[in-house]
Amino acid sequence: MPATSDAPLVHAVNVTKSFHGNEVLKGIDLDVRTGEVVVLLGPSGSGKTTFLRCINQLETIDGGRIWVDGDLMGYDDRGGTLHRLTDKRIAAQRRDIGMCFQRFNLFPHKTVLENVVEAPVQVKGVDRRTAEARAHELLEQVGLQDKPAAYPSQLSGGQQQRVAIARALAMEPKLMLFDEPTSALDPELVGEVLKVMRDLAQKGMTMIVVTHEMGFAREVADRVVFMDGGVVVEEGPPGQVIGNPQHGRTRAFLSRMRQEEQAHAQAVTEAVSAGVAALDDAPKEP
């Protein structure tokens, strides 16, 4: 595919993927334009995380093609015959794609600063001084300018995920992939990570986000893609897909999400009021 200015940054056509005979992706088509924020929604097992991992080749696809910035991912197309790329060239293709994981995956044996500096120095060959200066800027951007010497184990989950975002940004990626970045966080830490992601979206970063955070999808996404059973069921602006879903499966998923959110809120309210009541009933010390 020729890389023209109006070509999408990510161009995925008929992507299929099976694990041990179980077809997880059944022909996914997705285009993402530069600067666009796309949220992938769907029940667990719908294939959204697998598709995300296929984009930067943490999984190899069985069929279809994925182009990122005009490069065919994983293969060299020589006159219609595909040649598998070497590990080194695949690594080179991943340089421009940042990724954040559900479980952060910071390097525990390195400090925050070393985590951020590692890839620019080791992969791009950036001079260490320059890389450190840039790392300090990035840590400030994610609100962790006071933590460069801390080890990941000394940080909260929200702080770790923000370091992971800074680490990915240090490679100056054209595209950021987020794989359920807030699912492993305690509820009170979700906001700080979403805020960093929102800022990033406002700065024009192209992002593909797998998340269950409906509020984030509604406010930040340019487009919501609803997946179920390995296919894209429907896609469109968040107001349309979340506000006025056309398909039964989307409606069922969204109402289940709403119920869960309400049940969760209800449980929190009940627990709090029960706690207050218990305090009220407690015999007062004379």
């Binding site: 590990d87 991943r94 525990p108 044996h109 080791q122 300018q145």
Partner: protein
């Protein structure tokens, strides 16, 4: 809660549980220690003064450095490097590499080190006494001819034999270490564009070291002791042989043995201290914060 009256229980003043077994154990140990001290005092054949003299003999010191310690260093260097290579081969997608690694480990774990040393020195010497041709098999093309008899009883051959044996054990230790590192670590490194080799060297192996170091320390200490088997390869520049040889020449058998024993104690004590330092180094980022990091953190905090 603040009021204390006579009928409310106060501080606990209870009889402790009695441990008669402990007193019996102390008595038995006391008798054994007394026997040992009695032997030291009454049997002049211990001859500690002569023991210390043997420990300081040039030939004994030379045997310690050029045999026991050098042999350990050679063997462990080969063992660790080859062991890591074997571990990576064992986890390879290539079935040939996996098979070779398995067969290697199977073979070298089954052969006693004493037998292996004889095999390398005496056995190979029997096959290729003066001429060991290096070249293309089944052809008359030779790149070099080695005089094996000049090498067969050197610390180098002893170290190689023990190192090849050690690699079989180190492979299992390294494999356990590599498998202990979460898969997400390699994925994170790959997602940053790191090639597989660099991912292994910079991200996976340093974390695996936390699991690899403690058993490797034990292996090193065991290797120091196993160099006393060098005599199987007729290697005489080695602590045990030199110390006992000196002792028996002077008819001071026990002082000779004790000279070797004390040196082994000293070397192994130093190694144990080194091991605990290494464990702390590779354990950084885990568990309680080390003092230096805390210091750094407060300094940085003060800047802002």
């Amino acid at each position: 809660m603040t009021d204390t009256t006579a009928d409310r229980p106060g501080a606990i003043d209870a009889r402790p549980v009695r441990h008669p077994g402990r007193w019996v154990a102390v008595a038995v140990i006391g008798v054994l220690v007394a026997m040992l001290v009695n032997s030291f005092v009454t049997n002049e054949r211990w001859d500690w003064a002569y023991t210390f003299q043997i420990m300081q003999q040039k030939s004994v010191i030379n045997g310690l450095w050029m045999g026991t310690i050098l042999g350990t260093v050679i063997a462990m260097a080969i063992g660790v490097v080859l062991g890591v290579v074997l571990a990576i081969m064992r986890m390879s997608e290539n079935p040939v590499l996996r098979g070779v690694s398995f067969v290697y480990t199977w073979f070298f774990r089954a052969i006693p080190r004493y037998v292996l040393l004889s095999l390398f020195a005496v056995g190979f010497g029997y096959l290729y006494l003066n001429k060991f041709d290096v070249g293309i098999p089944f052809s008359s093309i030779h790149f070099a001819t080695i005089d094996y008899s000049a090498w067969s009883s050197t610390v180098l051959i002893g170290g190689i034999a023990l190192g090849l044996s050690e690699a079989a054990y180190m492979a299992e230790i390294a494999r356990a270490g590599i498998l202990s590192v979460d898969r997400g670590q390699a994925e994170a490194a790959q997602a940053l564009g790191m090639a597989p080799g660099k991912t292994m060297r910079r991200i996976v192996l340093p974390q695996a070291m936390r699991v690899i170091v403690p058993p490797t320390g034990n292996e090193t200490i065991a290797m120091v002791k196993d160099t006393s088997l060098f005599i199987a390869a007729n290697i005489t520049i080695e602590l045990y042989y030199q110390a006992t040889f000196f002792g028996s020449r002077a008819f001071k058998i026990m002082p000779g043995l004790m000279a070797a024993t004390l040196w082994y104690l000293i070397v192994c004590t130093i190694l144990m201290l080194g091991q605990s330092w290494l464990e702390r180094y590779f354990g950084r980022g885990y568990g309680p914060t080390p003092k230096a990091t805390k210091q750094k953190l407060t300094e940085i905090g003060a800047d802002h």
